[in-house]
């Protein structure tokens, strides 16, 4: 329980903060929370189960589009969440059954391929506005600040739910099964773990939360097009955040999201032309300095020795 106290403190802070924030900072924090949830979701399949789902943003896009299309047909926002979740879960199971047979890089490429394929389909889908995208009804509120706060809290609730799930996973049979699969799938099979089922469940779970976030994103931004919501760079960002903070930990993804999203907002906006270089540098530095993530560096007290050891082990 003790290790959840600090995060709980941060949560309280996040809950009381919005009235004191400017619109700009509220928007940035909302983005951080959104990415934290996406990363927490990808952490289940890519972190715990060890399947690098590079196309995970496909569920984000699906969620966004299901909500956009349905809201344009007069459905209320919360009503659209159910078909959004269902479509992502069903799709992840159908695609997962064949694709999750692949391992390592092959799975990463296949899942990316699925992402691009779905993007192209939506690009040509009349009901989804094809390449022009879709506009969503605007959220009405007393003031712009109230509307921003609304989305902020909406994202926060989903984040808390996903964190609770991951905490449960840590001490649960399902979580043990996934961790065993990540290390050695044959070993896991011999230990009585139904690996095909577990992998599929892990991806379906990941897809569910990613789709919910996509739905909220669409309503929040109120305009979506295929190029934005199926953008593979979003998956890459989830990955970098996960690795930066610490894969297959409860709070690593959150730390990664905060670090990278703040760097994005504060630094990249001033260096638009070189943000690719910055992202690349962060990935390289993470792999060399903190291969097990930022969180690992501080568990059991910060030690320079561990940092030096990491550098020695991972230098090219």
């Amino acid at each position: 329980m003790k290790k959840h106290l600090i995060p709980l403190g941060f949560l309280v802070l996040l809950v009381i903060l919005p009235p004191f924030l400017s619109g700009y900072w509220l928007r940035i924090l909302t983005g951080v929370i959104m990415f934290a949830t996406l990363t927490e979701a990808i952490n289940i399949i890519a972190g715990y189960a060890g399947y690098p789902a590079f196309g995970n943003v496909v569920f984000f896009g699906m969620g966004a589009y299901v909500t956009a299309v349905l809201m344009n047909h007069g459905f209320g926002f919360f009503l659209t969440l159910i078909p959004s979740i269902l479509s992502a879960v069903v799709f992840s199971v159908i695609i997962g059954l064949p694709v999750l047979r692949l391992r390592g890089h092959y799975f990463a490429i296949a899942s990316l391929g699925v992402n691009v394929a779905v993007m192209e389909i939506v690009n040509n889908l009349k009901i989804a506005g094809a390449a022009e995208g879709l506009t969503l009804p605007l959220k009405k509120g007393a003031s712009p600040h109230a509307v921003y706060s609304y989305f902020y809290y909406l994202f926060l609730v989903v984040l808390v739910l996903s964190v609770i799930f991951t905490i449960w996973l840590e001490k649960n049979r399902f979580g043990f099964g996934l961790r065993a699969i990540r290390v050695d799938e044959d070993g896991a099979l011999a230990m009585g773990i139904n690996t095909p089922l577990y992998k599929t469940l892990a991806w379906a779970y990941s897809a569910m939360f990613t789709a919910i976030v996509g739905s909220i994103y669409a309503y929040w931004i109120s305009y979506i097009d295929p190029e934005t919501v199926f953008e593979p760079i979003i998956s890459v960002k989830m990955f970098v955040m996960m690795l930066l903070g610490g894969a297959s930990t409860v709070y690593g993804p959150l730390i990664g999201a905060v670090l990278l999203e703040l760097i994005t907002e504060l630094v990249w906006s001033k260096f638009v032309n070189i943000h690719g270089i910055v992202l690349g540098a962060i990935i390289i530095l993470t792999v060399i300095l903190i291969p097990r993530g930022f969180l690992d560096l501080f568990t059991g007290g910060f030690s320079w020795r561990r940092l030096v050891q990491n550098i020695k082990e991972n230098m090219i």
Binding site: K171, V183, G192, I193
Partner: protein
């Protein structure tokens, strides 16, 4: 004699044109320690993979008690009560000793579903195999002898009726081997049927009352250690001319 717990009939595995296991029949009795020996590439590990379902059979059938297990998925076979260790140890890295053993408790025959139950069971087994003091250590930091114990402990956590040991002695020094041999005896005394695949003759000869010899995928002999060590074909095929000479002079 007690009843047959594991039965194979015409068990065959072909990899393309190569016949790795060629129509092998075996009967393993409840409560015994059964040895399988043979030179490198004889098909011992392949046979084990066939039994636990990691490889599909080309031909033949395997029965556990009266249930046909050939064709079943490896995880169902494990849950039925057949556990194995791996020759090349496969610890779940990044997890602690106790967590490794808990995986077995969670998914095995015993079907412990709560964290606490699984942990208690895993701690009992850690004590049995002598890893209790190391239970909170990451398996990444263990040496080979300890990793072999992890393999054993995990398999035991599945609460198997049949335990298949794939070269648990390989790579160990004589003192460590002695300890593992005692451990295997202890496990067997608890009523677990043990099938041992070994290179190291002393280990198998000392432990098992019955054994079979594989050579190029074919069973060439079956019997007590004495019968096997007298068998001319075995001496020629497996032990080699030099062992034969040394045995005569001794």
């Amino acid at each position: 004699m007690s009843s047959v717990i594991l039965k194979g009939r015409g068990v065959t595995k072909k990899f393309g044109g190569l016949v790795a296991v060629n129509s092998v029949d075996f009967d393993i009795y409840e409560g015994e320690i059964f040895g399988i020996i043979g030179p490198n590439g004889a098909g011992k590990t392949t046979l084990m993979n066939l039994i636990v379902g990691l490889l599909p059979l080309t031909d033949g059938e395997i029965y556990f008690k009266s249930v046909k297990i050939s064709g079943k998925k490896p995880y169902s076979i494990a849950r039925l009560g057949i556990a194995r260790t791996f020759q090349i140890v496969k610890p779940f890295k990044g997890m602690t000793v106790i967590e490794n053993i808990m995986v077995g408790a969670f998914f095995g025959h015993g079907n412990y579903t709560s964290y606490r139950e699984a942990r208690e069971r895993a701690e009992e087994i850690a004590k049995l195999v002598g890893l209790y003091e190391k239970r909170e250590e990451l398996v990444d930091h263990l040496n080979l002898a300890q990793l072999k114990r992890i393999e054993l402990a995990r398999a035991l956590a599945l609460e198997p009726e049949v335990l298949l040991l794939d070269e648990v002695m390989a790579g160990l020094n004589p003192a460590e081997m002695e300890k593992i041999m005692n451990l295997v005896r202890e496990i067997n005394a608890k009523g677990v049927t043990v099938i041992m695949i070994e290179h190291i003759m002393k280990a198998v000869m000392g432990l098992s009352r019955r054994m079979m010899v594989l050579h190029f995928g074919t069973k060439i002999a079956e019997g007590t250690p004495e019968e096997i060590s007298q068998n001319e074909e075995v001496i020629k095929a497996y032990l080699g001319e030099r062992y034969g000479k040394r045995r005569k002079s001794a």
